[in-house]
Symmetry: C2
Subunit: 154 residues, 2 copies
DNA sequence: ACAACAATGCGCATCGGCGTACCGAGAGAA
DNA sequence: TTCTCTCGGTACGCCGATGCGCATTGTTGT
């Protein structure tokens, strides 16, 4: 069954995705509804599983993570145990914020943050050293976030 | 001046990054503090600019964005007007969630979501058609999120 | 060592926002 | 028309956020 959303629902999702610290009254003003109606619709959206969670976005720079990388990794083998070992290692490294299994040239893309070049060098060494199946590692550093993460185009 | 954080502050940041819907009392239980002390520390963290904002994470699948891509783009020229035009176009396309200017082989990396293959084909066409300076476009589809976005390792 | 001050945690009081119950308006079917 | 279903608004009780005063601890200077 396909989920149908009214324009009001989509407005609420946009508003809440952008800023979840608003009070219901403020949210109501934004989307053009009373606080209680807003609350009801938002609750319904949560119950239907459209909202995965609420969280704070921390300031990467302020916290000293000056560098950000997208690392492409290819493995020598796509056999199950090799992938399994790689993925478990990835999940255990906190500097790796994200990991995607890819279709295309590379097998994986990782998003990584580091405090400085030294930390990156160490992480890089750790990646290649710890994981036996690695065939190729291409690191690409982000120079500037042209468009910082924007929410889903609801 | 370097910002110094106590272990308590880091605990609060971790907790709030993971889930900002908790009450102060709950947050206090998590980090081992009273609600009022928690509130004061959190307020201080906000005032010092360590928290960029609060937001809801929407469920990509539920909202019908079945596909996710990382697109690498190279331009024929790195001249300022070309970059400028490209970046403005990127910012105007809502399906492009993120855009980074990169050091390395490719000039840009885009993160893109699409409802289906058709929508992706159209977006792809739009990208290459609209932007005169494009030399190369490599699309990589994410098959599986091995590690979904985890917060900064505070 | 001790005094003074800063830092920080806790408890309490107050006030505002959340969540619910109820009411009314509008649309659609019989 | 009238019944009903949906949905938004209003009213209100209660919980949680927020600010304050006090206590305790740690640090610094003499």
């Amino acid at each position: 069954m396909k989920i149908q959303l009214s324009e009001l629902d989509r407005k609420i999702l946009r508003a809440v995705q952008d800023n979840s610290a608003r009070s219901m009254a403020e949210l109501g003003n934004v989307v053009g509804l009373s606080a209680s109606a807003c609350h009801r619709r938002l609750k319904s959206l949560e119950d239907r599983g459209l909202i995965a969670g609420y969280g704070a976005t921390l300031d990467r720079r302020q916290l000293g993570f000056a560098m950000q990388f997208f690392i492409e990794v290819s493995l020598v083998s796509q056999s199950e145990p090799v992938l399994e070992a790689f993925e478990n290692a990835v999940r255990a490294i906190p500097e790796i914020l994200e990991c995607h299994l890819m279709a295309g040239q590379s097998d994986y893309i990782l998003r990584v943050v580091c405090r400085d070049a030294e930390a990156f060098a160490q992480l890089h060494r750790e990646l290649v050293a710890r994981l036996p199946g690695i065939a190729r590692v291409h690191s690409n550093m982000s120079i500037r976030e042209v468009k910082p993460y924007a929410g889903l185009p609801v």
